[in-house]
């Protein structure tokens, strides 16, 4: 489950998972797993595609469902979208 806390860690390392593995504090390591990182990576990429209008309506619908199922609340979804747009 993606939380605001995990997104803060992801943002701290600008999405660089190897940076987190090398330089993450014990707290940053305890609150994150490889799989969380890759889930955020994938969602960021999908949100970016959607924001550029490159995806179908069905894709967008499924992505929104995935966001709801993957994030703990709406503020986390909004934060994830901000991160995705910032990477554009």
């Amino acid at each position: 489950m993606i939380t605001i806390q995990k997104l803060a860690i992801y943002s701290h390392f600008y999405g660089d998972i190897d940076g987190w593995a090398r330089s993450g504090t014990s707290e940053q390591k305890a609150n994150m797993r490889d799989n969380d990182w890759f889930l955020i990576d994938n969602l960021v990429q999908d949100i970016l595609l959607m924001s550029k209008g490159l995806t179908s309506e069905i894709f967008n619908q499924k992505l929104n469902e995935k966001l709801v199922n993957s994030c703990d609340d709406n503020s986390t979804i909004q934060e994830l979208k901000k991160i995705a747009i910032a990477t554009a």
Partner: protein, 177 residues
């Protein structure tokens, strides 16, 4: 950096301490010259000024290319903690070494822990380049086969091009965590 030079048991030791940097970080460290090999222990609290970071990185980078690790096969990795752990286990079991297992790598981990990544990344990139330059013969690399690796990773941008330019034989290990 303020500090003092002393000798102790045949070691030339420099103990340095920085003032609080503008960005709120403070570092201190001890460098020892032992039989021509630089040992460096670094500590950091909050951010280090860019000047101090560069000094430290330079010292660490010199150390990582020294002879103590030259004879060991080098193991690289990319793709998160699973890859790093697999690479380290492989290295330990085969008398090889990853960058993080070197003294310099351990010191860099201590130095950059919690540091803003835009400051820490160039230090790691520099160290990775030194580590890759020191490779000879065959090198091993561990990648995450489930999720792949980022094209902008240190492996992709720094290490692989160096190994390729040196004609190093690269053996790929794909892990499926």
């Amino acid at each position: 950096m303020r500090g003092e030079n002393t000798t102790q048991g045949g070691r030339a030791i420099f103990k340095g301490k920085t003032k609080q940097g503008e960005n709120g970080w403070r570092t201190w460290g001890t460098s020892s010259l032992v039989n021509g090999s630089l040992e460096f222990t670094a500590h950091a609290q909050k951010t280090v000024s860019r000047e101090i970071v560069n000094t430290t990185a330079s010292q660490v980078a010199k150390e990582v290319g020294k002879s103590s690790v030259d004879d060991l096969g080098r193991v690289f990795w990319a793709g998160g903690e699973h890859s790093m752990t697999a690479a380290m286990n492989f290295a330990k079991n085969n008398n090889m070494i990853t960058m993080e297992m070197t003294t310099a790598g351990k010191n860099m981990q201590a130095l950059t822990k919690g540091m803003p990544w835009e400051k820490a990344k160039p230090l790691w990139t520099n160290l990775s380049a030194e580590f890759a330059h020191g490779a000879s013969g065959t090198a091993h690399v561990f990648h995450n086969g489930v999720t792949g690796i980022n094209i902008q990773s240190v492996w992709g941008v720094t290490e692989y091009p160096i190994l390729q330019s040196k004609g190093i034989n690269i053996i790929y290990h794909v892990i499926l965590p």
